[in-house]
């Protein structure tokens, strides 16, 4: 399996869309246009996209509170997402979910999650359904370093192992859970834990799209072939605060600047495909422009769109009443 030119363009497009989306949300939040708790994925794009490039609509992912990147990588419509984050009626979840609860089950995106560790059990279920129904699908849980200490996550490793499920656990280690360093909060190591539960686990450079893509390829193939679960420990960094409004005083003074200057996954991708002569800068520039325009339109549409009304308050609590 190899990345075609189309694949490369598509991967870059998704990463750029995520970046533009998050930058826009950051600005709109600062301007007071977006309410609630918002956690941005900027800087972590290579993880979501490196994994999701291997997935299609029969595959399922479960995300975290920091979900926008996973949504876009899995094919959710950024415009409908933006409307959702603005709380509008035409939002992807009709304005009822907001940033922490974006989902699109038709795209196999089972939801951002306000509960740290909420996703892994669900992914065991999606993997079980795929296995039982013989769809060939796999299921992927994205989990933060902080979420890797939640019992629900750890139990899921074992369940996925003993049920031999087509499940993949992607530990996105951005160094912090809120203000707490993962170097402190994670006893042992992520890959050591995977081994402890009998799963393959690899550490991956999460700034490098190609490294993630390659590790994900192996894990997805293994899962599809009935080889059971595995774990990726993806090391990466976030550009913004834990949530919008976080002053980030716990970080080193130049930490984010250095991340941006040296470890920007988009920049590294550009450099790599440029050096290898795989894509022209102009191709990428065009994607940058399109992404910027697409997100700008999403924002202006979101601003213009209408709110849900009282008639919507009590609908959709149940499927049948």
């Amino acid at each position: 399996m190899q990345l075609s030119r189309e694949d490369l363009l598509e991967a870059y497009r998704r990463m750029r869309l995520i970046r533009e989306f998050e930058d826009a949300v950051h600005e709109e939040f600062a301007a007071g246009n977006i309410p609630g708790f918002v956690h941005l994925y900027a800087g972590e794009e290579a993880s979501a996209v490196g994994m999701c490039m291997h997935l299609d609509d029969r595959d399922r992912i479960a995300s975290t509170h920091r979900g926008h990147g996973h949504c876009i990588a899995k094919g959710c419509d950024p415009r409908a997402m933006m409307l959702e984050i603005f709380g509008k009626r035409e939002g992807l979840c009709a304005g009822k979910g907001g940033s922490m609860h974006i989902a699109d089950l038709e795209k196999g995106m089972m939801g951002a999650n306000g509960i740290v560790g909420g996703g892994p059990p669900l992914i065991c279920g999606a993997a079980l359904a795929a296995k039982t129904l013989g769809t060939g699908g796999v299921a992927v849980a994205f989990v933060g370093d902080g979420g890797s200490n939640q019992g629900t996550t750890l139990e899921s490793y074992n369940l996925a192992k003993v049920w031999n499920l087509p499940a993949i656990f992607v530990i996105e280690d951005n160094g912090y859970a809120e203000s707490t360093a993962s170097s402190w909060s994670v006893g042992g190591s992520q890959t050591g834990r995977a081994a402890g539960f009998g799963m393959p686990g690899v550490e991956v450079d999460g700034f490098d799209f190609f490294a993630v893509w390659e590790a994900a390829r192996e894990a997805v193939e293994r899962a599809r072939e009935g080889g059971g679960p595995s774990l990726l420990h993806v090391r990466l960094g976030r550009y913004y605060g834990h949530f919008e409004g976080d002053a980030c005083t716990y970080r080193a003074p130049d930490e984010v600047e250095r991340l941006k200057a040296e470890k920007d996954p988009l920049m590294l991708f550009r450099r790599r495909v440029g050096e290898a002569g795989l894509l022209e800068p102009t191709d990428l520039d065009a994607i940058d422009r399109e992404a910027r325009e697409q997100i700008a339109r999403a924002v202006s549409d979101a601003k213009a769109a209408g709110y849900p009304t009282e008639a919507d308050l009590l609908t959709d609590v149940y499927a049948s009443y």
Binding site: A94, G97, P121, L122, L159, V317, S320
Partner: protein, 338 residues
Amino acid sequence: MPKKSFRQAVNEALRQEMERDPTVVVMGEDVAGGMGAPGEQDAWGGPLGVTKGLMPQFGRERVLDTPISESAFIGAAVGAAATGLRPVAELMFVDFMGVCFDQIFNQAAKFRYMFGGKATTPVVIRTMYGAGFRAASQHSQCLYNIFTHIPGLKVAIPSNAYEAKGLLIQAIRDDDPVMFFEHKAMYDEEAEVPDEPYAIPFGEANLVREGEDVTIVALGRMVNVARDAADRLEGEGISCTVVDLRTTSPLDRETVLETAAETGRVVVVDEAHPRCSVATDIAALIAQEAFESLEAPVRMVTAPHAPVPFSPALEDLYIPSADRIAEAVREVHGHGRR
């Protein structure tokens, strides 16, 4: 009609729905049993044998034993329900909800609303509740009020074998997450249960008995205790209506209010602790909506605000009895018309 135990009724409902619909799967600790063990497979069928026989018929692919990891496997049932299966998960005792509640109340219950109506999560969680087994504080609770409080969940609490089969079949066919409560002291109780599958609709209370003087509203095992009390009171010339709620969510408000209005005197019987409970829920409903026709204060007969004690001597005092119900009925009956 054939007589079947509550245990058989539950087993039959599961079997018939699994036969009808290949997406129905059963999972839980030892629901088959013997997994990985050298001896008999299907060795348990749950701790009280309720699911025994399903695994030999449907195989381990559809009757899944689990590790002791309630968050993971209840969550897996929820996730599978959102992606094409109709799982029936067994939370062995409802007392164990504390290690997996999140997947029930924050995930399953909220998907549909949070996701703007786009999710369907047809999961059933079967669980044992109730006192009387000398099983002590951590294996004897009711806790159905907690699930009743949560929007997005449905809660069914059958009062006998007939109800169990019909309500469980409905639960499995229902597109919403359903908590299904089985009283551990009722598994051997028999009732007439048709062989063919049938569904009892949710939100329709059952008039177990109609009378003129006092309405007793009850649920689960307490329905039978209430009926015993009513039988006894009949001899004293007090005629009681007994309402079996069947489901606390959705709640059949109409039947509760109509029967309350008819008699003007109501006793609510609930095996759970008394605070923020189904008993207070029903009492509050009546106080609000049937106020004009009330002739006497509503009386609640419940367990006390104390954990369930182990000692048989204490547990027998703990559980609401026909005696206490009868006493409450006499009291409201004797209350002067206002």
